[in-house]
Amino acid sequence: MTEPLLDVRNLDLVLSHRSGDLPILQDISFQIMPGETYGLVGESGSGKSVTSLAIMGLLKKPLKVSGGQVVFQGQDLLKLRPRRMRDLRGDRVAMIFQEPMTALNPLSTVGRQIAEMYVLHQGKSWREARRLAVHALDSVKVPNPERRVGNYPHQMSGGLRQRVMIAMALACDPDLLIADEPTTALDVTVQAEVLRLIKELCAARGTAVLFISHDLGVIASICQRVGVMYAGCLVEENDTVALFSNPRHAYTRGLMGALPRLGSRLTHGRQRLVDIDSVIADRSVLTETRFIMPRGAANGESA
């Protein structure tokens, strides 16, 4: 294929502290091609979300990037001036968050919050933006969008709210959509609908997706390629099919073991799952696994 849309190169990220920097991400590298859906999977705390925030340039104070590059459409986002980065955010790179209740401002109507996108990035008037917001709601299959546009978040169900988030994220036809656990907080049935929606809309618009989840099942259903993160490192990366058929890293195998067998996912059968903690709790196993990581983990002991 051609140039990657997003090229994360040797990203290091630390938590700065008086007593020295604490490494959070080490040497993360991966690429996403235009239109591709890339999954990042890992336990909570493994650094998936932080990676996405680093790409968006939304890291908060004690966290900071200490090395590497985030090249998006040929330019290093880390070196961009804040103003340029701001213009890019939402417009070219958009993001959906995990908790649709708190990710929306409870005191604003959803219409207004969608409309903000058009005002910010396309210089539309509020009136025009609101009209577009109705369309956007319609496009994410929110029923009765003319009425819903005046709703407050608390008047909507979780699934609807997440659709609002998607509508907001896709409002400006971004080239890359970062979806950070977009379905985790939802009912299982709603999950499937939302996933399908993301898949369809992005496919139709050719939007690349960085899909973050701890749920291998979800990842499997939507992603072409998958990176497995563990303790701040990308421990394995492969095509989805290849990864599932041949997990190389011990941790990946652990994750797989924790996954209910395909097909029984929705029924939550009584079969015994491998507890992921029992795999990773033993620190000696951890250290050992570091050595077989595909890419450098020279100073991994400090994690």
């Binding site: 968006m56 939304l58 701001r86 213009d87 890019l88 955010r89 939402g90 417009d91 958009a94 993001m95 968050f97 908790e99 708190t102 990710a103 929306l104 401002n105 409870p106 005191l107 604003s108 903000e116 996108m117 910010l120 990035h121 407050y152 608390h154 008047q155 988030m165 907001m168």
Partner: protein, 311 residues
């Protein structure tokens, strides 16, 4: 919304009635009587006949339950009674004084909001900075100072040493007269507002939807204007409401110090001479004021926060 409003206003009435009863009971057992207080300054000599006659005249010789009944009946007709001292309707006396108190309270609150809210905002924008520390230490200091002491210091500095402002009085409602008492009274709400604004803004700034706003590519100033300000406002409005009510209590001291003709000083003077109808009436009006303001706050709150109305 209208139903909500009416319901909230109706809720005020039982509280008011209980307060009326409470105040009545308290001041029916208070030692000292109006008639006897008349000669406490030693200027005139005690005169039992006069006291007895005065008590008869004022209806103080009636049994307590009867007096309370009369009192409640009058209240039902919005009649707060007649002052022992001035023989004027209490409502009239309160009306004469209330506007000065309102003026003082509003001015103090405006001062507190205009200074306190931005300070809290700025402090929250740069948590941990020097400005933040100074603001917060200043705020807690403002809360730790006896108000009359502060007022006295301000009076000495700005009226006497610098001669910028008049030191006392109403001065026909001139703004210059209002400044010192309003600042003195405003310091406590200012400090509280700075603190709550800061806490509120910090709270909002850490909310997920602010991250969303940033992810949308919004500039810092737009984030603040579009999302932070409005949400932090909820807390500010609540604080303003609560403070507005309790400020009347504090105003008692300030009005006395600055010879400000408000209901606070009317209350203290009336307590001192046991002019019970005025005491009862003034406290009732103050409580009503407090309740109405809180009702207003609830309504504003409901207007700002769409989630409230549903409850």
């Amino acid at each position: 919304m209208l139903q909500f409003t009416i319901r909230r206003i109706l809720q005020v009435i039982p509280t008011l009635l209980v307060v009326a009863l409470l105040i009545f009971v308290i001041f029916s057992v208070v030692p000292g009587s109006f008639a006897a207080s008349l000669f406490s300054d030693g200027r005139t000599t005690a005169n039992p006949e006069m006291i007895a006659q005065l008590n008869r005249e004022l209806g103080l010789d009636l049994p307590l339950p009867q007096r309370f009944l009369n009192y409640v009946m009058d209240l039902a007709h919005l009649d707060l009674g007649t002052s022992f001292r001035t023989r004027q309707p209490v409502l009239q006396l309160i009306n004469d004084r209330m506007w000065a108190s309102l003026q003082l309270a509003v001015a103090a609150m405006v001062f507190a909001v205009v200074i306190g809210v931005p300070l809290g905002f700025i402090a929250a924008m740069r948590p941990g900075s020097i400005l933040d520390s100074v603001t917060m230490i200043g705020a807690v200091s403002g809360l730790s100072m006896p108000q009359f002491w502060l007022g006295l210091l301000l009076m000495y500095v700005f009226a006497l040493q610098l001669g910028w402002l008049p030191s006392f009085g109403y001065g026909n409602g001139s703004l210059r007269n209002l400044i010192l008492p309003a600042i003195t009274l405003g310091v406590t709400p200012l400090a509280l507002l700075a603190r709550t604004t800061r806490a509120g803004v910090l709270d909002v700034m850490n909310a997920d939807f602010i991250r969303t706003a940033h992810a949308k590519g919004m500039s810092e100033s737009k984030v603040v204007r579009w999302h932070v300000a409005r949400n932090a406002l909820v807390l500010v409005v609540t604080t303003v409401g609560l403070q507005f009510g309790s400020m009347i209590g504090q105003a008692v001291v300030i009005e006395k110090l600055f010879a400000w003709p408000g209901i606070g000083s009317l209350l203290v003077d009336s307590v001192a001479i046991r002019d019970i109808p005025v005491v009862q009436g003034t406290i009732l009006v103050i409580v009503l004021w407090f309740l109405l303001i809180n009702t207003a706050v609830d309504l504003i709150y409901a207007a700002i926060d769409p989630r409230i109305k549903q409850r």
